[in-house]
Protein backbone atom coordinates (compact mmCIF):
# COMPACT_ATOMS: atom_id res chain seq x y z
CA UNK A 1 0.00 0.00 0.00
CA UNK A 2 1.19 3.48 -0.74
CA UNK A 3 2.19 5.43 2.31
CA UNK A 4 0.20 8.43 1.20
CA UNK A 5 -3.07 7.59 -0.51
CA UNK A 6 -4.07 11.21 -1.02
CA UNK A 7 -4.47 12.47 -4.51
CA UNK A 8 -4.64 16.05 -3.40
CA UNK A 9 -2.06 17.66 -1.18
CA UNK A 10 -3.02 18.78 2.29
CA UNK A 11 -2.97 22.50 2.55
CA UNK A 12 0.33 22.94 4.42
CA UNK A 13 -0.84 25.53 6.92
CA UNK A 14 -4.19 23.91 7.58
CA UNK A 15 -4.25 21.77 10.72
CA UNK A 16 -6.25 18.62 10.20
CA UNK A 17 -9.49 18.36 12.12
CA UNK A 18 -10.69 15.32 13.99
CA UNK A 19 -13.21 14.73 11.21
CA UNK A 20 -10.50 14.78 8.57
CA UNK A 21 -8.34 12.32 10.47
CA UNK A 22 -11.24 9.96 10.83
CA UNK A 23 -12.08 10.04 7.12
CA UNK A 24 -8.43 9.33 6.45
CA UNK A 25 -8.42 6.48 8.92
CA UNK A 26 -11.63 4.92 7.63
CA UNK A 27 -10.41 5.11 4.06
CA UNK A 28 -7.00 3.64 4.96
CA UNK A 29 -8.60 0.74 6.81
CA UNK A 30 -11.11 0.00 4.06
CA UNK A 31 -8.22 -0.06 1.59
CA UNK A 32 -6.11 -2.32 3.83
CA UNK A 33 -9.01 -4.73 4.07
CA UNK A 34 -9.51 -4.76 0.34
CA UNK A 35 -13.03 -3.30 0.47
CA UNK A 36 -12.18 -0.30 -1.69
CA UNK A 37 -9.10 1.06 -3.45
CA UNK A 38 -7.64 4.56 -3.40
CA UNK A 39 -8.15 4.70 -7.13
CA UNK A 40 -11.84 3.91 -6.79
CA UNK A 41 -12.24 6.71 -4.26
CA UNK A 42 -10.49 9.17 -6.55
CA UNK A 43 -12.66 8.12 -9.48
CA UNK A 44 -15.83 8.33 -7.40
CA UNK A 45 -14.97 11.91 -6.46
CA UNK A 46 -14.29 12.76 -10.10
CA UNK A 47 -17.53 11.18 -11.25
CA UNK A 48 -19.51 13.13 -8.69
CA UNK A 49 -17.70 16.36 -9.57
CA UNK A 50 -18.73 15.79 -13.18
CA UNK A 51 -22.40 15.77 -12.22
CA UNK A 52 -23.46 19.41 -12.21
CA UNK A 53 -26.58 21.51 -12.73
CA UNK A 54 -25.33 22.12 -16.27
CA UNK A 55 -26.37 18.54 -17.06
CA UNK A 56 -29.89 19.21 -15.83
CA UNK A 57 -29.94 22.47 -17.78
CA UNK A 58 -29.22 20.59 -21.01
CA UNK A 59 -32.13 18.28 -20.29
CA UNK A 60 -34.50 21.16 -19.57
CA UNK A 61 -33.43 23.15 -22.63
CA UNK A 62 -34.03 20.14 -24.85
CA UNK A 63 -37.45 19.66 -23.26
CA UNK A 64 -38.28 23.30 -24.01
CA UNK A 65 -37.49 23.01 -27.70
CA UNK A 66 -38.64 19.45 -28.35
CA UNK A 67 -42.17 18.57 -27.17
CA UNK A 68 -41.74 14.88 -27.99
CA UNK A 69 -38.58 14.78 -25.89
CA UNK A 70 -40.45 16.50 -23.06
CA UNK A 71 -43.28 13.97 -23.26
CA UNK A 72 -40.78 11.12 -23.06
CA UNK A 73 -38.95 12.86 -20.22
CA UNK A 74 -42.14 13.14 -18.20
CA UNK A 75 -42.93 9.47 -18.86
CA UNK A 76 -39.48 7.96 -18.28
CA UNK A 77 -36.85 10.47 -17.25
CA UNK A 78 -33.87 8.18 -16.85
CA UNK A 79 -34.11 6.62 -20.32
CA UNK A 80 -34.87 9.97 -21.92
CA UNK A 81 -31.94 11.71 -20.24
CA UNK A 82 -29.70 8.91 -21.54
CA UNK A 83 -30.76 9.86 -25.08
CA UNK A 84 -28.62 12.98 -24.84
CA UNK A 85 -25.64 11.13 -23.44
CA UNK A 86 -26.13 11.74 -19.71
CA UNK A 87 -26.07 8.81 -17.31
CA UNK A 88 -27.59 9.45 -13.92
CA UNK A 89 -25.99 6.72 -11.85
CA UNK A 90 -27.41 3.78 -10.04
CA UNK A 91 -29.04 5.13 -6.96
CA UNK A 92 -32.44 6.41 -7.88
CA UNK A 93 -35.24 6.87 -10.33
CA UNK A 94 -35.42 10.38 -11.71
CA UNK A 95 -38.94 11.70 -12.15
CA UNK A 96 -39.48 14.93 -14.07
CA UNK A 97 -42.35 17.26 -13.24
CA UNK A 98 -43.35 20.26 -15.30
CA UNK A 99 -44.03 23.75 -14.06
CA UNK A 100 -46.59 25.80 -15.96
CA UNK A 101 -48.25 29.18 -15.62
CA UNK A 102 -50.78 27.49 -13.34
CA UNK A 103 -48.79 24.88 -11.40
CA UNK A 104 -45.47 25.34 -9.60
CA UNK A 105 -43.54 22.38 -8.16
CA UNK A 106 -40.84 22.65 -5.50
CA UNK A 107 -38.83 19.76 -4.06
CA UNK A 108 -37.72 18.95 -0.52
CA UNK A 109 -36.76 15.89 1.48
CA UNK A 110 -38.02 16.29 5.03
CA UNK A 111 -36.56 13.01 6.34
CA UNK A 112 -33.00 13.40 5.05
CA UNK A 113 -31.82 15.24 1.95
CA UNK A 114 -32.70 13.14 -1.08
CA UNK A 115 -31.77 15.05 -4.20
CA UNK A 116 -31.32 14.18 -7.88
CA UNK A 117 -27.56 14.11 -7.34
CA UNK A 118 -27.05 11.60 -10.12
CA UNK A 119 -28.04 14.40 -12.48
CA UNK A 120 -27.43 17.71 -10.67
CA UNK A 121 -24.47 16.83 -8.43
CA UNK A 122 -24.12 17.68 -4.76
CA UNK A 123 -27.12 19.41 -3.21
CA UNK A 124 -26.64 22.97 -1.95
CA UNK A 125 -26.15 23.50 1.78
CA UNK A 126 -29.55 25.12 2.28
CA UNK A 127 -31.32 22.15 0.73
CA UNK A 128 -29.84 19.97 3.49
CA UNK A 129 -30.58 22.48 6.24
CA UNK A 130 -33.04 21.69 9.00
CA UNK A 131 -34.89 24.94 8.38
CA UNK A 132 -35.54 24.23 4.70
CA UNK A 133 -36.55 20.66 5.45
CA UNK A 134 -38.95 21.82 8.17
CA UNK A 135 -40.53 24.79 6.47
CA UNK A 136 -40.74 23.90 2.78
CA UNK A 137 -43.73 21.65 3.42
CA UNK A 138 -45.68 23.79 5.88
CA UNK A 139 -45.12 27.29 4.52
CA UNK A 140 -43.84 26.84 0.98
CA UNK A 141 -44.89 30.27 -0.19
CA UNK A 142 -42.92 31.98 2.57
CA UNK A 143 -39.92 29.83 1.78
CA UNK A 144 -40.15 30.60 -1.93
CA UNK A 145 -40.49 34.24 -1.07
CA UNK A 146 -37.22 34.05 0.89
CA UNK A 147 -35.67 32.83 -2.35
CA UNK A 148 -37.16 35.85 -4.12
CA UNK A 149 -39.98 33.95 -5.77
CA UNK A 150 -43.46 35.40 -5.25
CA UNK A 151 -46.20 33.29 -6.75
CA UNK A 152 -49.70 34.56 -7.50
CA UNK A 153 -52.51 32.99 -5.50
CA UNK A 154 -54.03 31.47 -8.66
CA UNK A 155 -50.88 29.36 -9.10
CA UNK A 156 -51.16 25.95 -7.46
CA UNK A 157 -48.07 25.25 -5.39
CA UNK A 158 -47.18 21.56 -5.33
CA UNK A 159 -44.47 20.62 -2.87
CA UNK A 160 -42.85 17.23 -3.46
CA UNK A 161 -41.45 15.56 -0.35
CA UNK A 162 -39.04 12.90 -1.65
CA UNK A 163 -39.46 10.10 0.84
CA UNK A 164 -38.59 7.13 -1.38
CA UNK A 165 -36.47 6.27 -4.41
CA UNK A 166 -37.89 8.95 -6.69
CA UNK A 167 -35.67 11.96 -7.32
CA UNK A 168 -37.71 14.83 -8.63
CA UNK A 169 -36.44 17.15 -11.33
CA UNK A 170 -38.47 20.29 -11.92
CA UNK A 171 -38.78 21.50 -15.50
CA UNK A 172 -39.16 25.26 -15.01
CA UNK A 173 -41.37 27.40 -17.21
CA UNK A 174 -39.64 28.58 -20.36
CA UNK A 175 -39.22 32.31 -19.95
CA UNK A 176 -41.00 34.70 -22.27
CA UNK A 177 -38.91 36.37 -24.94
CA UNK A 178 -36.78 33.32 -25.63
CA UNK A 179 -38.29 32.43 -28.99
CA UNK A 180 -35.58 31.71 -31.49
CA UNK A 181 -32.88 31.15 -28.90
CA UNK A 182 -30.63 28.16 -29.43
CA UNK A 183 -30.77 25.19 -27.15
CA UNK A 184 -27.38 26.15 -25.77
CA UNK A 185 -28.50 29.71 -25.03
CA UNK A 186 -31.63 28.38 -23.36
CA UNK A 187 -29.60 26.04 -21.16
CA UNK A 188 -27.79 29.10 -19.80
CA UNK A 189 -31.10 30.31 -18.39
CA UNK A 190 -31.76 27.12 -16.44
CA UNK A 191 -30.39 27.48 -12.93
CA UNK A 192 -29.97 24.78 -10.33
CA UNK A 193 -32.53 26.48 -8.11
CA UNK A 194 -35.09 26.53 -10.92
CA UNK A 195 -34.74 22.75 -11.20
CA UNK A 196 -35.37 22.39 -7.45
CA UNK A 197 -38.33 24.72 -7.83
CA UNK A 198 -37.28 27.55 -5.52
CA UNK A 199 -36.76 29.90 -8.48
CA UNK A 200 -37.88 30.47 -12.04
CA UNK A 201 -35.51 30.12 -14.94
CA UNK A 202 -33.61 33.34 -15.66
CA UNK A 203 -35.09 35.73 -18.16
CA UNK A 204 -32.77 36.72 -20.99
CA UNK A 205 -32.82 40.37 -19.94
CA UNK A 206 -31.26 39.48 -16.60
CA UNK A 207 -28.36 37.57 -18.05
Amino acid sequence: MREDHHDQPHAPDHPMTEFEWRVDAVQALLIEKGVITADEVRRAVEEMDARTPAQGARVVARAWVDPAFKARLLADAKATIAEIGITVGFDATIVAVENTEKVHHAVVCTLCSCYPRGLLGYPPDWYKSLNYRSRAVVEPRSVLSEFGLELRSDVEVRVLDSTADMRYLVIPVRPAGTEGMSEEELADLVTRDSMIGVAQARTPALR
Binding site: V138, E156, V157, R158, V159, A164, D165, M166
Partner: protein, 94 residues
Protein backbone atom coordinates in the same frame (compact mmCIF):
# COMPACT_ATOMS: atom_id res chain seq x y z
CA UNK B 1 -47.29 -7.46 -6.05
CA UNK B 2 -50.40 -6.17 -7.65
CA UNK B 3 -51.27 -2.62 -6.75
CA UNK B 4 -54.29 -2.22 -4.55
CA UNK B 5 -54.93 1.43 -5.42
CA UNK B 6 -55.15 3.38 -8.64
CA UNK B 7 -54.84 7.03 -9.52
CA UNK B 8 -57.67 9.04 -8.00
CA UNK B 9 -58.38 6.65 -5.13
CA UNK B 10 -58.80 8.29 -1.73
CA UNK B 11 -56.43 6.89 0.87
CA UNK B 12 -55.72 7.43 4.53
CA UNK B 13 -52.17 7.17 5.83
CA UNK B 14 -51.78 4.73 8.67
CA UNK B 15 -50.61 5.93 12.06
CA UNK B 16 -47.52 4.32 13.42
CA UNK B 17 -44.07 4.76 14.76
CA UNK B 18 -42.71 1.24 14.61
CA UNK B 19 -39.32 0.71 16.19
CA UNK B 20 -36.74 1.01 13.48
CA UNK B 21 -36.62 2.77 10.17
CA UNK B 22 -39.61 3.88 8.12
CA UNK B 23 -40.21 6.56 5.51
CA UNK B 24 -43.66 7.87 6.37
CA UNK B 25 -43.32 11.28 8.05
CA UNK B 26 -45.45 12.04 11.11
CA UNK B 27 -47.10 15.03 9.46
CA UNK B 28 -49.03 12.94 6.92
CA UNK B 29 -50.05 10.15 9.26
CA UNK B 30 -53.81 9.82 9.70
CA UNK B 31 -54.29 12.31 6.83
CA UNK B 32 -56.44 11.66 3.79
CA UNK B 33 -55.07 12.14 0.32
CA UNK B 34 -55.58 10.91 -3.21
CA UNK B 35 -53.37 8.65 -5.24
CA UNK B 36 -51.69 10.75 -7.91
CA UNK B 37 -49.78 7.93 -9.59
CA UNK B 38 -48.51 4.43 -9.08
CA UNK B 39 -44.72 4.30 -9.34
CA UNK B 40 -44.26 0.52 -9.41
CA UNK B 41 -42.97 -1.98 -6.88
CA UNK B 42 -39.89 -1.10 -4.83
CA UNK B 43 -37.82 -2.79 -2.18
CA UNK B 44 -39.05 -2.12 1.34
CA UNK B 45 -36.75 0.37 3.12
CA UNK B 46 -37.87 -0.94 6.52
CA UNK B 47 -36.04 -4.17 5.73
CA UNK B 48 -33.18 -2.68 3.69
CA UNK B 49 -32.25 -0.42 6.61
CA UNK B 50 -31.28 -3.45 8.68
CA UNK B 51 -29.37 -5.37 6.05
CA UNK B 52 -32.43 -7.22 4.73
CA UNK B 53 -33.15 -7.74 1.06
CA UNK B 54 -36.23 -5.51 1.05
CA UNK B 55 -38.30 -8.27 -0.53
CA UNK B 56 -41.05 -8.69 -1.38
CA UNK B 57 -41.12 -5.41 -3.26
CA UNK B 58 -43.98 -3.19 -2.19
CA UNK B 59 -46.22 -1.00 -4.34
CA UNK B 60 -45.21 2.64 -4.08
CA UNK B 61 -47.51 5.55 -4.81
CA UNK B 62 -47.27 9.27 -5.19
CA UNK B 63 -50.04 10.60 -2.93
CA UNK B 64 -51.43 14.14 -3.05
CA UNK B 65 -52.77 16.00 -0.02
CA UNK B 66 -54.42 19.40 0.07
CA UNK B 67 -52.11 21.53 2.21
CA UNK B 68 -55.08 22.89 4.14
CA UNK B 69 -55.78 19.35 5.40
CA UNK B 70 -52.24 18.81 6.62
CA UNK B 71 -51.78 22.06 8.47
CA UNK B 72 -54.67 23.69 10.32
CA UNK B 73 -52.95 27.04 10.10
CA UNK B 74 -51.99 26.85 6.44
CA UNK B 75 -52.23 30.35 5.08
CA UNK B 76 -51.84 29.72 1.36
CA UNK B 77 -54.63 29.22 -1.17
CA UNK B 78 -56.83 26.12 -0.87
CA UNK B 79 -55.48 24.84 -4.19
CA UNK B 80 -51.95 24.24 -2.81
CA UNK B 81 -50.93 20.59 -2.58
CA UNK B 82 -48.30 18.41 -0.94
CA UNK B 83 -47.15 15.29 -2.78
CA UNK B 84 -45.29 12.42 -1.23
CA UNK B 85 -44.18 8.89 -2.08
CA UNK B 86 -45.81 6.36 0.26
CA UNK B 87 -45.65 2.57 0.32
CA UNK B 88 -48.90 0.64 0.08
CA UNK B 89 -48.57 -0.96 3.50
CA UNK B 90 -48.88 2.52 5.00
CA UNK B 91 -52.15 3.24 3.18
CA UNK B 92 -55.74 2.19 3.67
CA UNK B 93 -58.86 3.08 1.67
CA UNK B 94 -60.61 6.26 2.80
Amino acid sequence: MSARFKAGDRVRVRVGSPPGHFRTPAYVQDKIGAVERFHGDYRNPESLAYGGDGLPRRPLYLVRFPQSQLWPKYTGPARDQLLMDIFEHWLEPA
